[in-house]
């Protein structure tokens, strides 16, 4: 049976067919739907872990214990899980161990454009890269088999266009793979120097075997069209190249992007006059070819930035121009993402901006608090950094600065890696104010449950982390819960807490407006009491705008009736319809 499937759903299907026993992940675009799709299979234990490091370690434990296990994350998640990954390369795999990692060329939803392939090389592991949904499924299955065959963790690398494109997939049955025996093996599983020194020898020997495998395996394929031009590529770039160049060139399609073959590349190149390496992001394959002495054209012809297109490739390789088109004659307004109508974060940023505070920001929907007219966020680095970076800021700039400084961090992000920063503040005598934006869900990545929501990924009820007692237990004595939609009270609380000479946490509590349980009655309308002061415009609500005659209007198709504007209007000119 053939089914139209998202690349991410196909990775889940591949893991299912490979008989995977456990999947532990932390969400992150564009990888999230892999784990969400695992939920469809009742045979598999699946969970959202608090962060990627924990998720990877859970999968490693499952593998050591004999099960097939997978952990999925976005590219920056791999930075968080890097510590166990580098060492499990030495330990290897008992049950098949797969890490699915999704890069985001073009940064559709990311804070950087890093290239994960470097991790496979740095950790001396193995990496496969599919180019469509069918390959997502097949390569994931292969990854489990290879992991056991070579006693190694295997990466499946995806990019946004593979993860988030649907194409046809042939569905198969689940393989019956019994959980392997667990045998205590200290020399393999206890990585202290004496054992690790020996395992490093093994890792280097294994690497040589993998290179030999890369030369001969049927994963890497040559497509000889009798051309004098050769193209080496992998993943989505293969699809772009095929569309642009059809059978006008020869292809070496690398399914295994690490380790890379040597002889295969040399032989392929020797039959061509010109060889291009087409790869988004870094010159990873290109540098390998050049080190082998194979003269390829790579980043001289292609950019390191963003996504590629077939048009770019046709231009660079065949000097063909793009299709005829009507271009825009003048620039048009951009449409950046915004906080949704009814978003609880809007109220928080409205107050922070009003108070003129420096805002150490973090990653989540609330990063959008950086955009006009709210523009209150000063910094965004990585998950958790709002708390720890603010501690650093306060220590160099002193007490007065700290009284005008807050950290903002979402509930999921706080559990992911904000709590450690808070412990640092308490331990090292800081007096920061941390605002936890508790909207009862992991919003940005599309509504995943997390330890503070009281539900598992399967929607089962579970123990809920209590943010108040958590913060108190690490030594924060001042913990205040406040609804940011009570704007006056919230402002008062922020003033008080930033003025305190000790660490404090404000839990800004109101659920995400997109949650099914959140229902606001009616729509807001502007009455003739409006004096055009435009204070409501400071909220940056997408439903409120001013027309050409200066009249303030609320677009009923956008308004969700949250009523925040009603509370902000000084003339009581906004009412519910």
């Amino acid at each position: 049976m053939k089914k139209l499937m998202l690349g991410n759903a196909a990775v889940a299907q591949g893991a299912f067919e490979a008989g995977v026993n456990l999947v532990s992940s932390y969400p992150g675009t564009p990888s999230t739907e892999i784990t969400e799709n695992i939920v469809k299979y009742p045979e598999i234990f699946v969970e959202w872990a608090p962060n990627e490091k924990v998720a990877a370690e859970v999968a490693i434990g499952a593998s050591i214990a004999g099960g097939r296990a997978m952990s999925c994350c976005k590219h920056v998640g791999l930075n968080v899980m890097a510590d166990p990954v580098f060492t499990v390369s030495y330990i290897g795999a008992n049950g098949g161990l797969v890490f699915a990692v999704a890069d985001d060329p073009g940064m559709h939803s990311s804070q950087n454009e890093q290239d994960s392939r470097h991790y496979a090389k740095a950790s001396k592991t193995m990496m496969l890269e599919p180019s469509d949904s069918m390959e997502c499924k097949e390569f994931t299955k292969q990854a489990f088999a290879l992991s056991e065959q070579f006693d190694i963790p295997v990466f499946v690398r995806l990019t946004t266009r593979v993860s988030h494109s649907q194409s046809l997939v042939e569905i198969c049955e689940r393989e019956n793979v019994p959980v392997k025996d667990y045998v205590k093996d200290v020399s393999k599983n206890v990585m202290m120097p004496a054992n690790a020194i020996k395992r490093h020898v093994y890792v280097e020997e294994r690497h040589q075997k993998l290179v030999t495998y890369a030369e001969n395996c049927n994963l890497n394929t040559v497509e000889d069209n009798g051309s004098k031009i050769g193209v080496i590529c992998a993943g989505i770039d293969y699809q772009y190249a095929k569309e642009a160049l059809l059978d006008k060139v020869n292809y070496l399609k690398l399914a295994m992007v690490y380790p890379l073959p040597e002889k295969l590349i040399k032989d392929f190149a020797s039959k061509c006059d010109k060889v291009y390496v087409i790869e988004e992001l870094d010159p990873f394959i290109e540098e390998h070819c050049k080190a082998l002495g194979v003269n390829v054209i790579g980043k001289e012809a292609f950019t390191m930035l963003g996504e590629y297109t077939p048009e770019m490739i046709a231009k660079a390789v065949l000097n063909e121009d793009g299709k005829e088109r009507v271009e825009l004659s003048a620039p048009i307004p951009a449409r950046p993402p915004v906080l949704c109508p009814g978003c609880p974060h809007r109220a928080t940023f409205y107050v922070l901006k009003k108070l003129g505070l420096t805002v150490s920001g973090d990653i989540g929907c609330y990063t959008l608090g950086a955009i006009a007219p709210l523009d209150s966020v000063d910094t965004t680095i990585c998950m958790g950094a709002s708390v720890s970076a603010a501690h650093g800021m306060a220590k160099v700039r002193g007490e007065q600065f700290n009284k005008k400084l807050v950290s903002v961090i979402g509930d999921s992000t706080f559990i992911h890696s904000g709590i450690t920063g808070l412990i640092d503040i308490v331990y090292n005598k800081g007096a920061n104010t941390v605002i936890i934006l508790d909207n009862s869900i992991t919003g940005m990545t599309g509504h995943q449950d997390n330890p503070t929501t009281g539900k598992t990924i399967r929607g089962e009820l579970t123990k809920q982390v209590n943010l108040i007692t958590l913060c108190k237990s690490v030594g924060v004595d001042r913990v205040v819960v406040c609804d940011p939609f009570d704007v006056k009270q919230f402002e008062k609380v922020v003033r008080e807490e930033t003025n305190a000479d000790e660490p404090s946490v404000i839990i800004a509590q109101r659920p995400c407006a997109l949650l099914k349980s959140v229902k606001y009655e009616g729509k807001c309308v502007i009455t003739d009491k409006c004096r055009k002061c435009k204070l409501c415009m400071k909220l940056g609500c997408p439903a409120i705008s001013v027309d050409k005659d200066g009249v303030v209007k609320i677009d009923a198709s956008q308004c969700n009736g949250c009523g925040l504007c009603i509370g902000v209007c000084p003339f009581s000119a906004i009412e519910k319809e």
Partner: protein, 189 residues
């Protein structure tokens, strides 16, 4: 058959994803190779969203390049304009005449362009309709996506019944009635 390229553009939250899924599920029934490139993540928070759908004997790239779209299905006028350079010569652009102000317009840093429909008509064949009103008449403002699919279906060459079957298998049961009404509203304009 040479590949047909369809581009669906709109504002995050307008339901473009469901539109592309109905379309994708319908064309596979015709036995074509299909690729659909979706947008998940940040842009869904009220930003510009673009979905590509391609079908034919063999489809490689999931994205549609400039000058390549046979049909653009636009959920909003400014987004239709933004997509204009992607239209193939002689292509068709189906546009919902709704206008949603983006933040730069709301904060007064830019003006919402005027005369969009006439600009679009330089690039191709324009079919403009007020899909929001049709959706409301069908019983739910959110059914704009299915109204627009109805318009596209009319000239798709794929039988009416196949579209209806696809909607029945793609849309959740409790919204089915509204969506079937919405589809007909678009199909019969």
């Amino acid at each position: 058959m040479s590949t047909k390229n369809i581009m669906i553009v709109g504002v995050g939250g307008q339901g473009t994803l469901l539109a592309s899924r109905i379309l994708g599920n319908c064309v596979i029934k015709e036995g074509y190779d299909v690729k659909v490139s979706e947008v998940h993540g940040m842009s869904q928070r009220g930003g510009s969203v673009v979905t590509y759908l391609k079908y034919g004997d063999k489809v490689y790239s999931p994205i549609v390049g400039k000058g390549e779209a046979d049909i653009i299905l636009a959920f909003e006028e400014l987004e239709a304009l933004r997509a204009m350079p992607y239209l193939k010569k002689g292509g068709k652009i189906i546009v919902n005449t709704q206008q949603i102000n983006p933040m730069p317009v709301i904060v007064g840093k830019a003006d919402y362009p005027t005369n969009i429909l006439s600009t679009l008509s330089i690039a191709g064949d324009v079919v403009a309709l007020d899909a929001l009103s049709l959706a409301k008449q069908s019983g739910n403002m959110k059914a704009v996506n299915v109204v627009l699919i109805g318009v596209l279906a009319k000239s798709s060459g794929i039988a009416y019944e196949k579209w209806i079957d696809t909607i029945k298998t793609t849309v959740p049961e409790k919204f089915l009635e509204v969506n079937l009404k919405a589809f007909d509203a678009g199909y019969n304009i």
